[in-house]
Amino acid sequence: MNDLIIQTKQLTKIYGEQKSVSNLNLHVRKGRIYGLLGRNGAGKTTTMKMLLGLTKPTEGEISIFGSDIQGAEGKIYPRIGNLIETPGFYPNLTGSENLKILARLRGVPHQNAVKRALEVVGLPYNDKKLLAQYSLGMKQRLGIANAIMHDPELLILDEPINGLDPIGIAEVREFIKRLSVEQGKTILISSHILSEIALLADDIGIIDHGVLLEESSLEMLEKKNSRYVHFIVSSAGQAARILELDFHTSHFHIDDDYSLRLHDTNIDVAAITRKFIESGIDVSEAHTQNDTLEDYFKRVTGGEGIA
């Protein structure tokens, strides 16, 4: 596909005997927000570091803007803005002074690029406050300002909402969305917070133990989430026998003595309920439900959900 901004093939990183990232095939499309979702230590930061040349892959290929990054770093990296882990700045300087140094090194042509970037993230320009006095949230905002200052085509943001207060999170979310929708920027964002990814991303990659378990658009994922009928009855075992004998289905799951989930949604719920009651089973609840994204994440990773 020609609209791929980032593509990795069998990307692998091994530290000692530990496989941090394993055969990762990532596809980030132009103008989309790609959410890399995974628990802490799943391999998100290592993947991003490999994309930015901070870590050398053990195996595999990385292509950004359609070019292999090997040997083309000088052309590719100026087109990328990034924020990896906690942003690093000089504590003896103010936020503006920090950005001015980085703007010089980047060769940012616009005189007021620093001022504009600070305005976007809600930080004052030429403030006298030194970076050492900044809160984590302010440093995070400054990190984002640094990432966008040179108007890059691609943003790689590693957990950008870390340390932000709820209002700050909402502001950054809106701002990232605006960058994508209004300016057509491609954004790769990682998070361990599922709800954030669900609110932001167009495409989602689920990574666990260094393996990309799923890669799909949010729309497709929501479609994939299975529908089921949830019954709360006086005897889930008896109800299960009725489903097998009278309705010829075994596509159900018994949660406990009273709870049963029927995944075969083609059968008429009214008929089942009537049959349960006729057989002396009390039915307290019967309703159709969809798996949440968290349920899906649990199912895919085979473990506990995430926030």
């Binding site: 570091k49 930015l52 040349g53 901070l54 870590t55 050398k56 770093e73 000088g74 990296y77 100026p78 990328i80 990034n82 990896i84 882990e85 906690t86 942003p87 690093g88 700045f89 000089y90 504590p91 003896n92 300087l93 002074e97 001015k100 140094i101 980085l102 010089r104 090194l105 980047r106 060769g107 030194l130 640094n146």
Partner: protein, 262 residues
């Protein structure tokens, strides 16, 4: 070229509010004051400017400058590790090699500034106390000798700075080494080894007259300093990658043996 200019000016901006620069200023003044005491300690009352500036040069290379240059240079590089700014700079992208080169140039310029300060304080001290032989010839000679020997010291310690720039906090070892390296110059100077020893090599090149009966071999002195530049250059060519630079050594805890008390 423009990037290097921006990198070096950036390094000077980074120095803003760094208190370590005051250590440099104090060290320079201490070296001059010590030289003044040394010059007047003979008790003959014959206090001469030539003695004073020769003592300043002696103190600068044996006590102050090698230690000071590695301390400030190492600190400037180490801050990139401790402030976690290396990844920010590398992804601009600016290579670690370029960054290191910019820092070396900055340290060279700072050394020159400290040397100018050393000369000015020596000169002002001589003016204040009205040294007898304070002539233009001596003033100019003291200026280029103080600055020149300091630049020679900078070249002599370059490999130490570059070598110890590869790991977080490694520069502390470099500072200790540089102090011993400079101090050993006292024993080398005047023993026909002055030109071979990089810290003292510049003495001969600049015609230092503080040593009695010293015979300098300029090609050897020049080769000694050139060798230091080559070693520093080779070390810079082989700088490690970011992940090797920032890898913190994992301390392995000794396994506890459970000896149950019976």
């Amino acid at each position: 070229m423009k990037l290097m200019y921006n990198l070096v000016t950036g390094e000077f901006i980074k120095l803003k509010r760094y208190s370590i620069l005051w250590i440099g200023v104090v060290t320079v003044f201490c070296s001059v004051l010590l030289a003044a005491f040394q010059s007047s300690s003979g008790g003959t009352g014959d206090i001469r400017y030539e003695h004073l500036y020769n003592n300043v040069i002696w103190n600068n290379y044996s006590l102050a400058f090698p230690f000071l240059i590695v301390l400030i240079g190492g600190y400037l590089i180490n801050r990139e590790f401790t402030d976690n700014t290396l990844k920010t700079v590398l992804t601009l992208p600016v290579s670690f090699r370029r960054l290191l080169l910019a820092k070396m140039i900055t340290i060279g310029l700072l050394t020159t500034l400290f040397a100018v300060l050393s000369f000015l304080s020596t000169f002002l001290l001589a003016m204040m106390f009205q040294y007898k032989d304070l002539s233009w010839a001596f003033i100019i000679k003291s200026m280029y000798q103080i600055i020149g020997v300091s630049v020679g010291n900078y070249i002599a310690v370059l490999p130490i700075i570059v070598y110890f720039s590869r790991k977080r906090n490694a520069f502390f070892t470099g500072v200790s080494l540089a102090f011993v390296y400079g101090f050993c110059g006292i024993f080398v100077a005047g023993r026909q080894l002055t030109d071979y020893y990089p810290v003292t090599a510049a003495l001969g090149l600049l015609g230092y007259t503080g040593q009695e009966e010293a015979v300098y071999q300029l090609p050897i002195a020049l080769s000694s300093l050139l060798l230091m530049l080559v070693i520093a250059g080779l070390l810079m060519i082989r700088v490690p990658r970011y992940e090797q630079l920032t890898n913190k050594p994992r301390k392995q805890r000794p396994k506890k043996h459970r000896n149950r008390m019976k």
